[in-house]
């Protein structure tokens, strides 16, 4: 059966990039359908009627939505290649927990810190959440040990977007002295081929943050 894989998204969305990384890790060929979020396509609305958001993966005509659900699906449906979720049940549960933690706690705190231009209290909240992640890294190269796993993928925003926002707005959100392991992890992560191939150009992101959040001259 022909494997038709389409990914609806926008290049600059960290949630879409999560899916791209997963597809790259598994060596899956896909067609990227660029969406204009101010004028969503009929297909997008058909495939994601509940939230009308990207990313949406359509596999042989069947849609899957919500980035972390999609990443698990990719791992589930394509058994070859390195596993994205640990095979050990207990470690799998831990990975799911930390990925959910990134979504529930880290992302909102980071958005707030960026949106408020690095306001002290917002950054303090970020620090509180990032400390948990810093502790999780222990000695390993990635959250998944030697190989990228669900948690690494979920934290893509931290590895790449935060740096771009810091540059665009002249703020400090991720304190490299406080979180040396996270800083090292970020550098390694964005240099992995599967990740590199999925990331948007840094200049585009910096320009986006400047436009969106930059102070008026």
């Amino acid at each position: 059966m022909a494997n038709e894989v389409k990914l609806y998204g926008v290049h600059g969305s960290p949630f879409v990039v999560r899916v791209k990384i997963a597809l790259n890790l598994k060596g899956i060929k896909y067609e990227f359908v660029e969406e204009d979020l101010s004028n969503k396509s009929a297909d997008l609305l058909k495939y994601n009627p509940v939230y009308k958001k990207v990313p949406v993966l359509v596999h042989n005509g069947n849609p899957v939505t919500e980035s972390l659900v999609i990443v698990e699906y990719v791992d589930d449906a394509w058994k070859g290649g390195a596993p994205i979720l640990p095979r050990d049940h207990y470690q799998k549960a831990q990975a799911r927990f930390w990925a959910k933690f990134v979504d529930d706690k880290c992302m909102p705190a980071l958005f707030k810190a960026i949106g408020s231009h690095g306001q002290e209290q917002a950054v303090a909240e970020v620090d509180e959440q990032l400390q948990f992640l810093e502790n999780e890294l222990k000695g390993s190269k990635c959250f998944g040990g030697d190989n990228i796993d669900l948690v690494d993928i979920s934290a893509t925003f931290i590895a790449f977007w935060v740096g771009a926002a810091e540059e665009a707005l002249g703020i400090k959100v991720l304190n490299k002295d406080k979180f040396p392991k996270l800083a090292e992890w970020s550098d390694n992560f964005i240099n992995c081929q599967a990740v590199k191939d999925g990331l948007p150009p840094r200049e585009t992101l910096v320009a986006f943050f400047t436009r969106r959040f930059g102070k008026q001259a």
Binding site: H89, Q94, R96
Partner: protein
């Protein structure tokens, strides 16, 4: 049957998320030890087991570190005991669908019940009721699609989404009665209504869904604690003594920030309170304080407040103002917050101070 010494579940009877895990344990015939938690005063075990969220449920399997988050626990149990009553379907696409709807139910649908409780106005409540109706109608559609004519989301027998949604049936009934509006009804959600009746009478569920009295007690506790009060006279000004009075679950907490030796303070505080510099339980945002007293009874908190009232601050502390506010003044500021708590004794105590509130600018600086 799995040995009961292997699995421990930390929980509280009124939590649907805990019930969810209990259903799965029952369906899979897994014996376990249940540890009841008092959410107003969380145990050391819970705080250590779930330092990130300090919430229940938490599953402890053997001597492995604990697993929090009910959906993650359910998936874990399904994976380690796959042959006994499998919860998730085997096809990857169906699993993705199940996970999607579980996320919708937990993050979009169920939080509406809590929002309804917190909304005081009639128009506000009506708006949320409308959202709940839309949500449940979407779930009705989903049920029709996924059940494919069968009795449950999972087909012929209970599956993943049946426990994910089924655990909320107790609260659904409660919300319906309390607010006098129907969530499940024969006209708008006929299939879900039939499904709900099946769940209510299912072996694994009927003992685990808490009764309306348990839910009512929990609900009243939430109502009380959501009127928690923080009042700070000089935010961030650690050198100036501040009194914070807040409600933490069922107990009253007095946070005192100041340079005074806490031993000097002790006689002023009713003997019933525990003085500790390491407060237990979920902290409010304003967690400053080097003396902390926790009282279970309102009159003890009131007595402590009264004893502290009128005491002048020690002369050796430094302040930016020429004359720092006294505790007497500070309590006046606290009155504003106490008013929202509707605690009769405390309100009575602070009544004379109310007049001073009108002249706040004179001493607030």
């Amino acid at each position: 049957m799995v040995k009961s010494s292997e699995i421990k579940l930390l929980g509280t009877a009124a939590s649907p998320f805990v019930n969810r895990v209990q259903f799965v344990l029952k369906l899979k015939s897994i014996e376990y030890e249940y540890v009841d938690e008092n959410l107003a005063c969380k145990s050391e075990l819970l705080l250590k087991s779930n330092p990130v969220y300090t919430k229940v449920p938490v599953l402890i399997h053997g001597n492995k570190p604990p697993i929090p988050e009910s959906i993650i626990i359910v998936e874990y149990l399904d994976e380690i005991y796959p042959d006994i009553h499998p919860m998730l379907p085997s096809d990857p696409l169906d699993r993705a669908q199940n996970r999607f709807w579980a996320d919708y139910i937990d993050t979009k649908y169920f939080p509406l019940y809590e929002e309804l409780r917190r909304t005081p106005s009639k128009e506000g409540k009506e708006a949320i009721q409308k959202q709940i109706s839309e949500g449940i109608e979407l779930l009705e559609e989903t049920f029709v699609k996924l059940s494919n004519g069968k009795a449950y989301f999972g087909g012929d027998d209970v599956g993943f989404l049946d426990v994910v949604l089924g655990c909320f049936l107790g609260w659904t009934k409660f919300v319906e009665k309390h607010n006098e509006f129907k969530i499940l009804d024969e006209v708008r959600t006929p299939k879900l209504l039939e499904w709900a009746n099946r769940i209510w009478s299912h072996e694994a569920f009927k003992d685990a869904i808490p009764g309306s009295e348990t839910l009512m007690n929990f609900y009243m506790m939430l109502q009380k604690s959501s009127s928690s009060v923080i009042s700070i006279c000089c935010q961030g000004e650690y050198e100036v003594p501040c009194l914070h009075l807040c409600l933490l679950g069922e107990s009253y907490c007095l946070f005192y920030t100041g340079n005074e030796d806490k031993r000097m303070l002790q006689p002023s505080i009713s003997g019933e309170g525990n003085i500790s510099s390491k407060p237990k339980g979920r902290q409010t945002q304003n967690k400053v304080g080097n003396v902390y007293a926790q009282f279970m009874e309102e009159e003890h908190a009131a007595a402590a407040l009264q004893n502290l009232s009128g005491r002048k601050t020690p002369s050796d502390f430094k302040s930016k103002e020429e004359s720092p506010p006294t505790c007497h003044h500070i309590i006046t500021i606290a009155y504003k917050g106490i008013r929202y708590s509707r605690k009769p004794l405390l309100m009575e105590l602070c009544r004379p101070q109310k007049l001073l509130l009108d002249h706040r600018e004179d001493y607030m600086g």
